[in-house]
């Protein structure tokens, strides 16, 4: 967490924890039951690029599913996942009546309960007793200048998350090594991850930071390439390499295995090249609020 010092005379704004919870609850329901317009356009484009066959038929089902979600209000996917929340809190914002952790978790619990979303968490990875609520959320908090709270939610199912991977590559592995690593991760498990995929690639930082970057990359809006020419070039290169595999929609074969690749970079140690690929299914579910 990066801090921002409060100066004497700075005005502080108060925000009720309950308002945060309400926002998070509505974000959970919105992410799970309201497909974004951008997603439909990408799937339509993928379908027009696909020859007749089971892969194309699977894309057709994905599109019909979006229609069904809109008309029934049912979740896009039954795996309503773990709630991953990226929170940016202004340094002049004080949350009243509870911590941010409590506010977010109460919101997730309310959203999953009232939205009839599936609870999928167990108490711990060894004992594995189902939890009666879908909290705790995974929260990545950073402090920024200002007095607002920006919340970004990624609802992450296990099918795609289980296909994700990370590695510490040799520092000079370069674009070749990174592309190879991502393609191999896709070849190993992506047929189980509900392709066509979105791939978040985190490069740099260290072992845990590259994973967080790979998640954050998935929050970038549809159709937005990376800021630098190097990011953009690598995104295009990885997308081509992944689509070359022919895995196709649902693993049924076809020219579209991934819809988008997003690369995020961070400074790293001269001796390291940390890389993580967060694999995301076609049912990409996000929501955003500024409070």
């Amino acid at each position: 967490m990066i801090g921002c010092a409060l100066k004497q005379g700075d005005r502080v704004r108060f925000l009720e924890a309950r308002a945060v919870s309400e926002a998070v609850a509505s974000m959970c329901v919105e992410a799970c039951t309201r497909p974004s317009e951008g997603l439909r356009a990408l799937l339509v484009k993928a379908m027009s690029a696909s020859p007749m066959g089971p892969g194309r038929s699977a894309l057709d089902l994905c599109l019909r599913n979006l229609d069904e979600t809109v008309s029934t209000g049912l979740p896009i996917c039954q795996d309503t996942g773990i709630a991953v929340v990226f929170a940016e809190r202004g340094n002049r914002l004080v949350i009243e009546g509870g911590s941010l952790r409590e506010a977010v978790d109460r919101g997730v619990e309310k959203g999953y309960r009232e939205g009839r979303l599936r609870n999928s968490l167990v108490n711990d990875p060894l004992n594995r007793t189902p939890l009666p609520v879908n909290s705790p959320a995974i929260i990545h908090l950073s402090e920024v200048p200002g007095d607002s709270l920006t919340l970004e939610l990624l609802v992450k199912g296990a099918g795609s998350e289980n296909a994700s991977a990370s590695a510490m590559l040799p520092p000079l592995a370069g674009e070749d090594g990174i592309t190879c690593f991502v393609r191999d991760a896709v070849l190993a498990k992506a047929a189980c991850a509900c392709p066509p995929l979105f791939l978040g690639v985190g490069l740099g930082g260290n072992q845990e930071m590259c994973g967080i970057l790979s998640k954050k990359a998935l929050l970038r809006p549809f159709g937005t390439p990376g800021e630098t020419p190097a990011q953009k070039r690598l995104e295009e290169r990885i997308l081509a390499a992944v689509n070359e595999t022919g895995i196709g929609p649902q693993g049924f074969g076809g020219p579209v295995t991934a819809l988008e690749v997003r690369v995020e970079l961070a400074p790293c140690h001269m001796a390291s090249l940390p890389v993580a690929v967060c694999i995301e299914c076609h049912a990409h579910r996000t929501a955003r609020r500024v409070l």
Binding site: G53, P54, G55, S57, A58, L61, C62, R64, N65, L66, E68, T69, T72, G73, L74, P75, I76, C77, Q78, D79, T80, R116, L117, R118, N119, S120, R128, P130, L131, P132, G157, A158, G159, N162, A191, C192, A193, C194, G246, I247, G248, P249, Q250, G251, F252, G253, G254, C281, H282, A283
Partner: protein, 178 residues
């Protein structure tokens, strides 16, 4: 539009071909990882399962809670690969149809056809569509497992693809041969 019934017996299964799309109706038992472990424990100790496995269909799935006025919430497949360590004893007990998503281990892939069992792949992430193909849905056993309980679900025209047929056809290898 080709249709199939989940517990149809061997005749109709013979006619299925890898790669074709079907609309599946009838009774399936929906179960995930921990229900599989319990089934494996019962089978290995010679105890009966909570349902008759002879000719049965297993769907790797757990729905979202049903909203008011609907029999089922969203419903779709989970990754089949995770159930593979438990699959062959279930085939030996008589299960003849599996529905899930993604490829299977080489061991399961090479064993199903000889036993007369097929594997159908559903489209993951299309669960609003799936929830609309349900006539009834109830917990059949192991409610203590929460979302991992065993469910009895009656499907109506649920879209699936033949992934492993009885003649050695494999949908997931068809793309590799191209």
């Amino acid at each position: 539009m080709k249709r199939i019934i989940a517990d149809c017996g061997p005749g109709p299964l013979e006619k299925l071909e890898a790669g074709e799309m079907l609309y599946l109706s009838g009774t399936v038992m929906a179960c995930r990882d921990r229900a599989h472990r319990r089934m494996a424990e019962l089978l290995s100790s010679g105890m009966p399962l909570p349902f008759d496995p002879r000719g049965a269909a297993l769907f790797y799935a757990a729905p979202t809670p049903a909203p008011p006025g609907r029999v089922c919430g969203a419903l779709g497949p989970t990754t089949s690969l995770r159930m593979d360590p438990f699959t062959l004893p279930l085939v030996a007990a008589g299960v003849r149809m599996f529905i899930g998503k993604g490829p299977r281990t080489p061991q399961v892939t090479s064993s199903l056809a000889a036993a007369g069992a097929v594997y159908l792949a559903a489209a993951g992430g299309t669960a609003a569509l799936g929830g609309g193909c349900v006539d009834s849905c109830e917990v059949a056993a192991w409610e203590d497992l929460g979302s991992e309980a065993l469910y009895k679900i009656v499907l109506r025209d649920y879209p699936v693809f033949v992934a492993l047929d009885l003649h050695g056809g494999n949908l997931f290898e068809m793309r590799m041969r191209k």
